[in-house]
Amino acid sequence: MTQNAPTLSLGPLLFNWPAENMRDFYFRIADEADLDIVYFGEVVCAKRRPFQLPFYGAILERLARGGKQVILSTLQLVMDGKDQQAIADMVAFAGDYLVEANDLSSCAALAGKPYALGPSVNIYNEETLRYFEDEGATRISLNAELPVDSLQALADAATVDLEVQAFGRAPLAISARCFHARTHGLAKNGCQYVCEKDLDGLAVDTLDDQPFLAVNGLQTLSQAYLCLLEEIPALQDMGIMGLRLSPHSCDMVKVSEIYRARAAKRSSATETLEALKAVLNGQPLANGFFHGEEGLKYVASHI
């Protein structure tokens, strides 16, 4: 492992926040949040980009001024010319920024340059990890599904920096179909951007009112918030120093503080868990994937 100190990163914003809110959010992150890396860019739906683009320049400048390393994230699923254009636009910045590939089409476009690899590119084993290291990947965010024994094996093999999602609803699926539009009885090409209404995704419950999933346009997420506060020492012991926090409408500056305190060993699991629960207002937490169990479970580590 090349990386010895813990790094806290903010994953790309997955939700379709009104563009001004998005700008204000990133300005506050730039100015106030204790984060090392901020991933930026639309990864779910290319239709959202035209609204956001006018603010890209100001956001990137502000993040740089705030001392954050910016990594540009690309779209997860490429279906048509609009999606291809979105990827090309991001890859064009590869000289100025590290670009995170979230699909093989981006890997193809970035071949020969150093790049970051996002969690929607499947890396389940050492051979695949080695392949991408040879291709130029310098930072790899692993899929939230990977259990601890796989993480350990990958960390043992890795020569580049590894990262796992430690906070936020976990992306579970991506589709050509828009579930937000469908919920509102609309077609995808006349979606009226209804995903904008749900800042953290739209909750999906079962017929018996069990909290189940959340939808965000083409994406399906866990309803529970992934939380690896208890597992941070185990991750650090195996050499995984990168912790990725996925943005939500809750106080992300506070969330960053909580994870920083835990990563720097200033606060205990119990203290930080209590603090996080206070920020989240009763949202369920999950860490089952890490423990090789159902992803939605929360397994108390008793560390």
């Binding site: 999606d83 890396i123 976990a170 090409n189």
Partner: protein, 324 residues
């Protein structure tokens, strides 16, 4: 005009013989372990059975494709490597892979082995498909079910290899190989374990409101007395969102491309894939027979496969823009 190639499922040696006899141009299967995406009890092939299947199919002019289309486990790639080694030794006509590490292994270890890119790799655009062609020499891509027919037509003009598309059977509404819904609810996933919504986690309960189907303790659907009850595949249930109750992700439908078969041919598609390695011999016989007739233009072909669909409903899925 070139005919579409008919690629058919074989969950068992008996299903393989049935598919070949009914007119399959090619048959695909997996080994009996976690290396394939239909890792169900009682399904799939031993090495000896695959060897016999090759003899049977080749004697009748049919090809045999082996699917090793899950992702190798970190720390233990051996079962996956052994599956690839066996495929090469036994002389399968093509190996269907999804994992980059395994593609790399197969390419370097058996450079002459024909490789197909599994739908589980979810390669949906020219840039990614051409990348797989350049790096791993794949000769065919099984397209994810996220593209419309015009998009497929355009794609075919931008890649130098064959495309195979799903024609009939169960349909994922999600991009394949990018979905961990099943492991979120049950701890078992298609990518890692070769299963989705596994039967071991299914439970049915009869209540006053009707038959309730559950997966991992979660209610997936509830059926009135007059409704046919379906298997609780977790993306095909009724759920509540935004104050409404509906089939949010997908109705319990089956894919059926027979209405658009000429369009797919015109879009430059090489092969049609029938889903259903878990299905019965009778199902395989009926579907293969019907598609053989449809491809050959035999006049008696009409809606003879409709009754075989899940929930007796059909869709052309993402091939038509309406589905999106």
């Amino acid at each position: 005009m070139t005919k579409l190639e008919l690629v058919c499922p074989a969950g068992t040696p008996a299903a393989l013989r049935t598919a070949v006899d009914a007119g399959a141009d090619a048959v695909y299967m997996g080994f009996r372990d976690e290396t394939n995406a239909r890792n169900f009890p009682g399904l799939n092939f031993s090495r000896k059975e695959l060897s016999e299947a090759l003899t049977y199919a080749h004697a009748r002019g049919a090809q045999v494709f082996l699917a090793v289309n899950t992702y190798a486990k970190a720390g233990n790639p051996t079962p996956w490597h052994e599956a690839i080694n066996s495929a090469a030794e036994l002389g399968v006509d093509a190996l269907i892979l999804a994992d980059i590490g395994l593609l790399d292994y197969a390419r370097h270890t058996f450079p002459n082995l024909r490789l197909h890119l599994s739908v589980q790799a979810s390669a949906s655009d020219p840039a990614s498909i051409n990348y797989y062609v350049e790096r791993f020499g794949i000769r065919r891509v099984v397209l994810p079910r996220v593209l419309t027919v015009p998009e497929i037509g355009k794609l075919n003009s931008q890649i130098p290899i064959e495309t195979e598309v799903f024609a009939f059977g169960g349909m994922c509404p999600m991009a394949e190989g990018r979905c961990t819904l099943s492991s979120y609810i049950t701890g078992k996933s298609p990518n890692r374990n070769g299963v989705c919504s596994p039967a071991s986690h299914v439970y049915y309960a009869q209540t006053d409101e009707g038959l309730t189907s559950k997966l991992g303790g979660f209610t997936i659907n509830r059926f009135r007395i007059d409704e046919p009850a379906g298997y609780p595949t977790l993306c095909k249930g009724r759920f509540k969102s935004g104050g409404k109750t509906r089939y949010l992700f997908e109705e319990p439908t089956s894919l059926d491309i027979t209405p658009i078969l000429p369009d797919l041919l015109a879009a430059g598609v090489t092969a049609l894939k029938i889903e259903g390695r878990q299905r019965s011999k009778a199902y395989v016989r009926d579907v293969v027979t019907a598609f053989r007739a449809a491809i050959d233009g035999t006049p008696e072909f009409t809606q003879c496969v409709g009754h075989l669909s899940e929930g007796s409903q059909n869709t052309t899925g993402a091939y038509g823009k309406k589905w999106l």
